[in-house]
């Protein structure tokens, strides 16, 4: 294989986006380009790409193997992936999968005979309020689109007809059956947004052309950035953000201004990286901001970059957010045209900011900040040792001090700089100031995004804003208050204040503010299994407890679900999870077991009931016998073209017979 000149040129353009000598950062965008060109990334193409990027074939292969969205084998013309994670499961993802299987006549992981459709499942696509949903990738163009609210068999049929008609990919905006009565493939617009009377972060979402720079500027956009960059010193910006008390919205809640002040003052090269790898199941807030108000984020980036004195920023967006990714690039180009990004921005001599949107390729772990940096550097998304922390010399992107902030955190910055720290502190609580975009999903009547001040009671969110439970007859059973990795709350905890301290006091964490409501119909065994399955699938594989522990837990849970459980399995699971927690390399280990642990603790009766019903005699499983181990040592390796003939016999004549008999 040899790349065409056009492809080679495109790859070189991707490579040019990254700093000199860091061209391997372009490995994912280049692989996407190769996949679009050839339909998949063959080993030969990987090796040829490695040559261009200065990577060995094994290094490229390792990257390809890590990211689920890069295929080493061709898929169908349309790759249909159904989200089956907990929020979707609660709203009928299983039925959606069955409808697809029925209509397409294929099972999970299969491709139709005509090569048109491949069907797979996928873990949380950030579309929890509009479940059930699928993502479809068009092989010929590499374009990817979300098709949502596929509640019935008719909806699925309508979707497939649309795809077959060829009208499905002229836009990448999300599609719903209801919003497209004539099957023209039109976009459905943003999903439900609500909350306070006057909203800020989500104020513009839903307005016509809210993603365009003209409307953003008409609403006063970029004025704050212009003023701050002209009038305020970086230290003053940091002070104002510190004073606002803004805390990180990615999950850990670390004060943003304090983080910024950690940068070593003397280092000449530093980076800003925006974490847009929103992958925590139950979380879909950053998606809406990027799709419908990207300039708000870019203005925040300009302000943050000014504060930390960098001229280079990256947005690392998850690969599935193709629409948001496209819109962000569009917005970057528009901002560059206006002189807000690029060189001498806002007309200030010597003030530069280059912003690159970097698309991930399907790996939850890349939301962990050090894993994100490793991924951005062109590697597998493995977390790295801390210290040094990203803000330290040696710890960040390319070893340089780096600030990593969540999209929502950065989006708060323009508002804080425009209206002041005191205004901001007028919202929320003393320790958790400001407003929050809560992602409400699961069994509620109106799932969606609700922008509310920190401290709003859980009950108010669920009943006042969310309209209560999905069905009148099914009461709330459990609530996951901060994305799937957090411990479950129960229906008697509706008074819990939704701020960092309040949720912690209730025995869980606010995390990414993804609130998943489960009603009485949900099986807590299935919830636990799907939670663990998600983490098993997304574990990066670096450390022992997470890699082996999640696999083991999943096997036990599947067995329990299938009727082979024993009561001692519950203790075993508790024991295992205790040793994954706080022993793993990164916080992923904790996240992988907290949900299951709390489910087991709070709904133990359900597990016991299932086991006693399905396996009353507590019979353990049969363990299969191991195969013959000792293979032949004398065979030609086939790894090289021989220039010398083989001589002599195998040193293990007797094994040869064994192996032959075995074959």
């Amino acid at each position: 294989m040899a790349f065409s000149d056009a492809l080679r040129k495109e790859l070189q353009e991707w490579m040019a986006l990254y700093p000199e000598g860091r061209q391997r950062s372009a490995v994912l965008p280049c692989l996407y380009a190769i996949q679009r060109t050839y339909g998949y990334c063959s080993v030969e193409s990987q090796n040829e790409l490695g040559d261009m990027l200065g990577m060995t074939p094994a290094e490229v292969g390792a990257v390809v193997g890590y990211y689920h969205m890069i295929n080493e084998e061709p898929k169908g013309d349309f790759h249909v992936e159904v989200c089956t994670n907990v929020p979707c499961m609660l709203r009928g993802a299983n039925q959606c999968m069955h409808h697809l299987e029925e209509k397409l006549g294929i099972g999970h992981g299969q491709t139709t005979a005509d090569g048109q459709f491949t069907l797979d499942h996928m873990e949380c696509l950030g579309s929890c309020a509009t479940a059930p949903m699928v993502q479809i990738t068009e092989k010929a163009t590499g374009k990817l689109r979300y098709f949502e609210e596929l509640d019935s068999a008719e909806d699925v049929a309508k979707l497939l007809d649309l795809v077959k008609s060829g009208n499905a990919f002229h836009t990448q905006e999300r599609w719903t059956p209801d919003a497209d009565p004539n099957s023209e493939g039109v976009g459905a617009g943003p999903y439900r947004i609500g909350g306070m009377e006057e909203r800020f972060l989500t104020a513009r979402i839903g307005k016509p052309n809210s993603h365009q720079i003209d409307t953003y500027m008409a609403d006063g956009g970029y004025e704050t950035a212009r003023r701050v960059l002209t009038e305020m010193a970086p230290e003053e910006v940091i002070e104002q953000v510190k004073a606002s008390g803004l805390r990180g919205r990615g999950g850990a809640g670390f004060p943003t201004g304090v983080k910024w002040s950690f940068l070593p003052p003397t280092s000449p090269v530093r980076y800003l990286v925006v974490n847009a790898d929103e992958s925590e199941p139950g979380t879909f807030k950053d998606r809406a901001v990027m799709e419908y108000d990207p300039h708000q984020l870019i203005e925040g980036i300009i302000l943050a970059a000014h504060a930390i004195k960098t001229d280079r920023a990256f947005v690392y967006i998850r690969g599935e957010y193709y629409f948001g990714y496209s819109r962000l690039w569009e917005a970057v180009r528009a901002a560059e045209a206006k002189g807000f990004l690029g060189e001498n921005i806002f007309g200030i001599e010597g003030k530069n900011l280059k912003l690159v949107i970097h698309r991930g390729a399907g790996a939850y772990e890349c939301g962990e900040e050090t894993a994100l940096l490793t991924s951005l550097e062109g590697g597998r998304g493995h977390p790295r040792l801390k210290p040094p922390f990203p803000a330290n010399e040696g710890g960040g992107l390319y070893g340089r001090p780096t600030i990593v902030n969540n999209v929502e955190s950065i989006s708060n910055v323009p508002h804080i700089m425009r209206r002041g720290a005191d205004w901001y502190k007028g919202f929320g609580t003393e320790k958790s100031p400001g407003m929050r975009i809560f992602c409400l999903s699961g069994n509620v009547k109106y799932p969606g995004l609700y922008e509310l001040p920190h401290g709003v009671p859980l009950g108010e969110l669920v009943y006042t804003h969310g309209g209560g439970t999905q069905l009148a007859e099914a009461a709330v059973k459990a609530i996951c208050p901060g994305g799937l990795s957090m411990k479950l709350l129960t229906s008697d905890q509706m008074e819990t204040q939704l701020d960092f301290e309040g949720v912690q006091a209730a025995g869980s964490l606010l995390g990414s503010a993804g609130i998943i409501v489960m009603d009485e119909r949900a099986s807590m065994v299935e919830v636990a299994r799907r939670t663990v399955s998600f983490y098993r699938e997304e574990s990066c594989g670096k450390c022992t407890p997470c890699r082996e522990g999640t696999t083991w837990l999943e096997k036990i849970l599947i067995r329990v679900e299938n009727g082979g459980g024993r009561l001692q399995d519950l203790e075993l699971m508790e024991h295992l999870s205790k040793f994954i927690e706080r022993r793993s390399f990164c916080p992923f280990g904790d996240a992988s077991v907290w949900g299951m642990q709390s489910g087991l603790q709070k709904f133990r009766g359900e597990f016991i009931e299932l086991i006693e019903q399905t396996n009353p005699s507590q019979i353990g499983p049969d363990i299969p016998i191991r195969p013959i181990y000792r293979p032949d040592t004398g065979q030609d390796s086939g790894l090289h073209t021989s220039t010398l003939p083989m001589v002599g016999e195998s040193p293990l004549i007797r094994d040869k017979a064994d192996v032959a008999a075995d074959d």
Partner: protein
């Protein structure tokens, strides 16, 4: 690093240097913390979580990996409490959950850290009732290394070795989560020449040795510390034997030499020792056929014929060829026999008297290894002339890579090929073979101006060394040479190493003169070194297997040395300088009537030599195999290998090291070199006083002043270096004259030779697992020339010079410079010597 930090581990106070890892601080107290991924020679990755211990910190006590966290003042560490012990137990539980537990048929069983730690720290019982995960159990990641992905615990040691030492990330993690596995990219096997070291450092039985697999059980083997027989770095090895056979070779730590690493050829290519092609008994030619004979008959025949020829044609009609592959003891006795009984100085070895070598060797390998352990490398710049460590000395190669990558050393390369080490972007002077002198003279001139040192005497010697000559004669870019000159002038401690290729033939003395001038003016004369490539290249010279040198590098007319040796040996030494290796072989059948060849195979080097050898009145060959030379012999004496007898070898930095007898072969009549020579001596009328090889070494310590005190006992198992200052020539500027180049329209290509690790020699070729990676009969051609000649890979071509022709196959290589072709020495069925006449610089043509 003098700052000490004091902390408490399990209640015991300990003070260690700042930066020490908790793991090492605990070890200092004798507290063992179990590990898998951590390795003292690799950077921490902290992925196995086996070493989690409780450490106090600003946010209270927490479990932290001891392998990655440095000590802190006042830190309290607990390695024994319930929390830590239950964690250790469970981590092993996690590791074992998908491990196949096939210990009974696992090579690692019995010496496996996973087994040992399971016994000491693991759970007593498995809680697993699920089916285990299945992966590939016999996965070849190279021709010599087998990966069992089920046994693998994903500790990354192998990945990190290839990355951090070889700088060749050819292994990586693929897939993720529970499916994570170590693998190569499909179709791209590990080709690092020291890749086999990952077998030694694998903490489980995941990586096994394809040559040794299933051939040993660790508790049944005998272990003998020894020395690698292939390379002049003298890498320390351990030979594992059972029932008179070598079962395995592994690396042995010597921090002065090889760290703990050995090359793949060292590790895997040992099948020749136990080969059934080995000579079992003496052979004597009768009626044109070599037929088995008794030792007494064969030895008496040798003695009688030698006496007869000596009587008839004089002592100088007899010559002896020793070997750089054999021990000091074998070579010492060999030259003693030739000088004492035959009475001739016609004694030499391949790359001996024909190569302008320096006796001093490298200052110390540790000077290059230094950077990995401390911030102050002793050597800051390394200049390689006509030497390709990646092919010729793989362990030196990884030392150099570390010096560059971790020590910040600068690398300058003068080599006609774009050798692997040029990837570090140091100056590369891709000179035309044969133009070394001009290149070095110009470099000297440039270094003089770069270092602002004006030496009138030297300037006078360099009048012809112009930048124009650099372009015309050497085809080297002036800018590259300027970069190199600047680095050498700026360097405080530069090491200049030249190989046999640069100093061969009539060119040699001129090259050494030019190098001396360069080294002197840049202040690096003490670190100018010739490097021989074979295991005993240095020792063979030290022992006086040279036509113009007595043992200890003494001149033939050195009265003190003569007196010492004559008294010790009880004889009068010959005074006339002898013939060199090439001279003897060229004269064989002419002035030379008889040759005694020990451990060499000149017939395979050049067809005309083979013809000459056939014309001899007497050819005695002492060897392990019936080589091409042995097939021409009148008497063949079967010898024992380095593993079957005691011996010492002197490496490229003058370290004398022991290679003790590791096995006996009760079925063979072959005898050790010293014993054969000793018996010949007694039949020649003397009674040598040796009881064994150690006795020979004892005599060497008396006969060779630089070896004084280096007895078998004193050497120990890490060896001792002798002092180079005793034999270093006085520094003086010398005229270096460029010999004429011989390019012509008919023969347009400059021939590049040199050696490769995976050649056609018996010591490599008899290991069948390595056949696929061996070089065949090839000629390396640049892509541009291949295009011009319309030849592709594997096209059969004829390469010819005025002296001969070779049938070889084309191998297109980016490493080869247009206008040159590359044919390494010792390739099977393609003796490059057929094209040469006295020097390794020659011009050739290629015809399809």
């Amino acid at each position: 690093m003098t700052d000490l930090v004091t902390l408490k581990i399990d209640g015991h106070e300990v003070s260690v240097p700042k930066g020490t890892l908790v793991l090492d601080a605990a070890a200092k107290l004798g507290i063992e913390i179990p590990i898998f991924c951590s390795h003292p020679k690799l950077d921490p990755v902290a992925c196995c979580r086996m070493c989690l211990v409780e450490m106090s910190g600003p946010r209270g006590a927490s479990l932290q990996p001891a392998c990655a966290v440095p000590v802190a003042e006042g830190m309290e560490v607990n390695t024994q409490n319930e929390n830590v012990r239950s964690t250790q137990e469970m981590m092993l539980g996690f590791i074992l959950v998908n491990h196949p537990l096939d210990c009974p048929i696992c090579d690692k069983g019995g010496e496996c850290p996973l087994q040992d730690q399971t016994m000491r720290f693991g759970p007593g019982i498995s809680q697993l009732v699920e089916p285990k995960r299945h992966k590939n159990k016999e996965h070849l990641i190279s021709d010599t290394i087998v990966l069992d992905q089920e046994r693998c615990v994903v500790c990354w040691r192998c990945i990190r070795y290839l990355q951090e030492w070889e700088d060749k990330p050819q292994l990586a993690l693929f897939e993720r989560g529970g499916e994570t596995l170590i693998d190569i990219q499909h179709g791209q096997p590990v080709d690092a020449k020291t890749g086999g070291n990952i077998i030694d450092i694998c903490p489980v039985g995941a990586l096994t040795n394809r040559v040794a697999r299933f051939n040993f059980r660790p508790w049944q083997i005998e272990r003998t510390p020894s020395i690698d027989p292939h390379y002049s770095t003298g890498d320390n090895i351990r030979i594992d034997t059972r029932t008179h056979q070598i079962r395995r070779i592994v690396g042995r730590e010597n921090m002065q030499v090889n760290d703990q690493w050995i090359a793949d050829k060292t590790r895997f290519a040992y099948e020749w020792v136990n080969s059934d092609q080995r000579l079992q008994h003496p052979l004597v030619r009768k009626d044109g056929e070599l037929v088995p004979a008794s030792w007494s008959y064969a030895l008496q025949y040798v003695v009688d014929r030698l006496k007869e020829i000596s009587r008839k044609n004089g002592a100088d009609a007899i010559g002896g060829i020793g070997s750089t592959k054999l021990s000091n003891e074998s070579n010492y006795l060999f030259q003693r026999l030739m000088r004492q009984f035959i009475g001739t100085n016609n004694v030499d070895h391949r790359n001996g008297g024909d190569v302008a070598a320096l006796a001093t060797g490298l200052p110390a390998l540790a000077d290059i290894m230094k950077p990995q352990y401390g911030p102050n490398p002793k050597v800051d710049t390394i200049f390689l002339v006509g030497f390709d460590p990646s092919e010729e000395l793989p362990i030196l190669d990884i030392h150099l890579k570390r010096a560059v990558l971790r020590g910040g050393a600068k690398l300058i390369i003068a080599h006609p090929r774009q050798i692997e080490l040029t990837r570090y972007k140091g100056p590369h002077l891709a000179y035309k073979p044969g133009s070394e002198v001009t290149m070095l003279n110009v470099l000297t001139k440039l270094a003089m101006s770069a270092g602002e040192k004006n030496d009138a005497e030297l300037s006078k010697l360099l009048t012809g060394a112009t930048q124009q000559a650099l372009k015309d004669v050497c085809d080297v870019a002036v800018d590259e040479a300027k970069r190199a000159a600047e680095l050498l002038a700026q360097s405080e401690n530069a090491l200049i190493i030249y190989g046999p290729m640069a100093a061969d033939g009539p060119n040699g003395p001129q090259v050494i003169n030019a190098l001396t001038n360069l080294a002197m003016i840049t202040g690096h004369y003490e670190r100018l070194a010739y490097i021989g490539l074979d295991a005993n290249s240095q020792g063979c010279r030290d022992m006086g297997v040279l036509p113009t040198k007595l043992p200890g590098h003494a001149e033939l007319d050195d009265a003190e040395a003569r007196a010492r040796l004559e008294q010790l040996w009880g004889c009068t030494l010959p005074t006339e300088p002898g013939k060199t290796y090439k001279q003897m072989l060229d004269a064989a059948g002419g002035a030379i009537k008889a040759l005694y060849v020990m451990g060499a195979d000149p017939a395979s080097e050049r067809p005309d030599w083979a013809a000459n050898l056939d014309k001899l009145d007497l050819l005695i060959v002492q060897d392990l195999f019936l080589t091409e030379t042995a097939q021409l012999a009148d008497v063949v004496l079967p010898a024992l290998s380095w593993a079957e007898s005691n011996g010492t070898f002197t490496n490229c930095e003058r370290r004398v090291q022991r290679a003790p007898k590791a096995l006996t072969n009760p079925h063979t009549k072959a005898a050790a070199d010293w014993m054969i020579l000793d018996h010949l001596a007694s039949r020649l009328g003397a009674n040598w006083p040796y009881a064994d090889e150690k006795g020979v070494l004892h005599e060497i310590t008396e006969a060779v002043p630089i070896y004084r005190g280096l007895t078998w006992e004193a050497l120990g198992d890490q060896g001792l270096q002798w002092d180079a200052a005793q034999v270093r020539p006085t520094a003086e500027y010398r005229q270096a004259v460029q010999p004429e180049a011989t390019a012509s329209a008919e023969y347009p290509f400059a021939l590049v030779t040199g050696t490769v690790s995976y050649d056609g020699g018996n010591m490599f070729a008899l290991t069948k697992q390595m056949h696929n990676i061996a070089y065949g009969p090839i000629v390396g051609i640049s892509p541009a020339d291949a295009d011009r000649l319309s030849v592709a890979d594997a096209t059969p071509v004829t390469v010819s010079s005025p002296y001969g022709a070779l049938q070889v196959q084309v191998k297109i290589s980016e490493q080869v410079k247009p206008g040159t072709v590359w044919i390494p020495e010792s390739l099977p069925q393609s003796p490059v010597g057929a094209l040469l006449n006295g020097s390794s610089a020659e011009y050739v043509k290629i015809e399809a």
